[in-house]
């Protein structure tokens, strides 16, 4: 199944800082629920994995992420990802277009994700996929904002390695790869805690459905919407 997700959010941080973090897969991945970079092949190609729990289905996708375009001047990026379910139960393909825009010293982030899912998740989860994606993205945005606000004031004192990474990635073409980097990804492998929580997700979906019904009945009797 195919789904197009569009998302827009503002961050109260300067565009340069946001770009630096977003443009570095190894950095930004720490904000994606359940995701990890497992190997950096070169500046444009990474290997990674995502663990999601979806009701009774727990899916672990491992695959490749390719940076198709990284234009710092226009603050525009295009990412392509393809993941295979580790148990052979399906695959997911993603094409992401992201742009940053400066707005009164803040940054507006806009992106679209075109996702094609094949296999069990598509069969059983097709009706929930948009709600779940939305939940995932909200978690990501929260994580990302928290991360930036935590790191921003202390920008000068970030550990050398991280600073180096940010600087190098920002350059886009800088040859940074070292054998250490390839064999020791700095992002830890995804933990259970980091995996998408099924209960909260399904809860959200149910709440949104029933929330609508409750609102409907409240409106019938002149009550306020919850």
């Amino acid at each position: 199944m195919n789904t197009l997700i569009e998302k827009e959010f503002d961050i109260e941080q300067p565009i340069g800082l946001v770009w630096k973090s977003l443009a570095d897969p190894e950095d930004v991945v720490t904000c994606v629920p359940g995701a990890a970079i497992t190997e950096k092949i070169d500046d444009k190609n990474y290997k990674g994995e995502v663990v999601t729990k979806f009701g009774p289905i727990k899916a672990k996708y491992s695959g490749d992420i390719e940076i198709v375009e990284l234009n710092e001047g226009e603050h525009k990026m295009v990412l392509k990802g393809r993941g295979l379910d580790s148990k052979g139960k399906g695959s997911a393909d993603m094409l992401m277009n992201g742009t940053l825009e400066e707005k009164d010293g803040k940054t507006q982030v806009k992106f679209t994700m075109d996702i094609t899912i094949v296999g069990m998740l598509a069969q059983f989860g097709s009706r929930l996929i948009n709600d779940v994606s939305d939940q995932l993205l909200n978690q990501f945005v929260d994580n990302f904002k928290n991360k930036l606000s935590a790191s921003a004031p202390a920008e000068e004192s970030v550990p050398d390695e991280a600073a180096e990474t940010v600087a190098a990635s920002a350059g886009g073409t800088a040859a940074l790869t070292s054998t250490e980097k390839r064999t020791e990804p700095k992002t830890p492998a995804p933990q259970e805690d980091n995996a998408l929580n099924a209960t909260s997700l399904i809860g959200t979906v149910i709440k949104s459905i029933f929330g609508g019904i409750v609102d409907f009945f409240k409106s019938l009797f002149g009550g306020k919407k919850s």
Binding site: N2, L84, G88, I117, V118, G119, M120, A122, Q123, S126
Partner: protein
Amino acid sequence: MIKCNTSKEIGGMGHSKKRKEDARFIQGKGNYVDDIKLPGMLYMDIVRSPYAYAKIKNIDASKALEIPGVVAVVTGKDLEKYNLHWMPTLMSDTQMVLPTDTVMYQAQEVAAVIATDRYTARDGKEAVMVDYEPMKPVMDPFKAMLPDAPVLRSDKEGKTDNHIWHWEVGDKEKTEEVFNNADITVKQQMHIPRIHVASIETCGCVASYNKVENHLTMYMTTQAPHAIRTVIALVAGHVGLTEEKVRVISPDIGGGFGGKVPVYPGYVIAIAVSFLTGAPIKWIEDRSENLQADSFARDYHITAEMAGTKDGKIQATRFKVLADHGYTDASANPSKFPTGLFSIGTGSYDYGTAYMEADAVYTNKPPGGVAYRCSFRVTEAVHAIERMTDMFAKEVGKDPAQLRMENFIKKEDFPWASPTGWSYDSGDYHAGLKKAMDAVGYHELRKEQLALRAEGKLMGIGISTFTEVVGAGPSKDFDILGIKMFDSAEIRVHPTGKAIARFGTKSQGQGHETTYAQIVAEELGIPMEHIQIEEGDTDTAPYGLGTYASRSTPTAGAAAAMAARKLRAKAKKIAAYLLEVSEQDLEWEPGKFFVKGAPEKAKTIQEIVFAAYTNHPQGMEAGFEATHYYDPPNLTFPSGAYICVVEIDPETCDIKVRRFVAIDDCGNIINPMIVQGQVHGGLTQGIAPAMYEELIYDEAGNILNGTFMDYLVPTAVESPNWETGHTITPSPHHPIGAKGVGESPTVGAPPAIVNAIVDAVAHLGVEHLEIPVTPFKLYKKLKSVGYFDDKA
């Protein structure tokens, strides 16, 4: 009124006897395949493909085999060693049992896990790691026909496209000529969507091979046990399983509807594994496997056309079909009928010119299609003709009931030769429609409709007056894999006058144990309570092609009557001997022979049967048994007149069936209550594709509604109050004048419902709606004609 020839005690034809089989069904005492447990039995589960089209790079079973209790993991490569990795379909196409290198549809069988219990088998299945290389599937049948489409069946030598077969019937040139010169022509493209029989019991088997005896007992959810035995012997004869070494038992079946006619890979794998291990193997599908992988029904893309005069006389029809068969042609049609009996699509109308053609195509969808409660593609044909009749009526400005009345074949014109080659046996279409119109109050409803429209309310009345063709079939035309489609009955009457009768058919809920007993009771006068009916065991029952396509009463029911008549002829001889009169002096009344003019001189059937074992005439064979193989001279042509009234919420587009009147004509009625039950069930399965059911695939090959959460099977909640009735036009060639009825309502209901919905919104500019007509689909249509002006 139904006239009964027998007393209530005898319970022959026409008596609303309660179903004998229900005693065990309603108490949970049925014996289904999954109830069978054998010592040392192992359980099988099947690894299925998540992809619609992919290369298999590797299957790693090592983790599965580490699980305690997992006994084996079987792949296509394992079966290849015994040449069991491919099998023929009923349409002489080929189908993988398990793939060796490529998967062709989502949910296709990839490997089988054998374990000591069901749960361990499922755990093992989860642990089998399959490495796929996905390819882009071909899902759209029209795209599959394009010259640049990838050739899916590259396993077939020399195959250069996805086309399977072309079929045509009728007079192409003459039809074209009529269309060119006609006052009025109407044309509509329509899709009869892919649906699933969704029987309550899924498919499964217990394959039990005895190495010492070299004997296979196959307990199986099959509608055609004898045919399956022959197929097993043909496929596995080379490994020693010849036909006398195979016993197929079809125990109680929880609904078949055509879905239990094909041979699915799971059955074959179970047999192969039992053969290799010597252990009984049980395989039972879960609900999603059943819905996603087992044979679909329908999936015909039809371009239908009708030509006629401006005063409303139908002159010709032309249908062109693209049939999406999925990965292989696994239809369950008679061999010579690739489109089944689709050519019945000229309907109940008196015109002499028609042309129909069909092309079948491979796609990356599961194979099929089965005759879902339908005599081989009749549902598709009836939908097309009944929609066209309504469209034509609208075009010429006539009431659809009036136009039908004017175009019906008259009852004195039977037998009637159809332009596509059928000889309709009997019918009285005018009487059926009149009865339905009176029952529903047709003319009042039309007045009410006008009044409601003036108030902005949406109400519609839809008619379907269909002709069915059932009871396949005469041996000159009908066979499956070469075996002629006769059917059989064997009656044994015991010395005390009680009987057992066995049949080559197999009930899946139709009530054979009751109706067959009533037929024998009608002919022999033995109370139906004392006639035991048995089916489904190939070691005991006479050979027959099974139950589907409403063929049981037309074939095996006729065989029962014929076998009973052989016994009655013998009874007459014995009675003459006992009464010391000549046979010519005897007269029959149900239950006894008596001497003409001296009714006190009589012998009951029980006395006669007892004599057959204790005091039979010299020179006569002892005993009281008979067998008959009935080869029907023609099919039977039941008909029906259905009228549906719908109300549509003008804001939400919710569709409510307010009335549904179904007048069926299935010839002489054996058990009115069973017929009514069949009609109720069939109508519910008719509302299903009209308003709810469709198997939906996306471009990537995913099935998007492969569970009952998303595939909407109507329940009691969705079922309106069915108002049923009948007219009786006996079949002139059937021994008891009966036709078939089980599938009539499934075939006839969808166009009545859709015609009603279209009628409700016709004044808004809607000419056609594709099934299933969901509220959302209706909303979009009404928006497209400007009824809604919202921005959503």
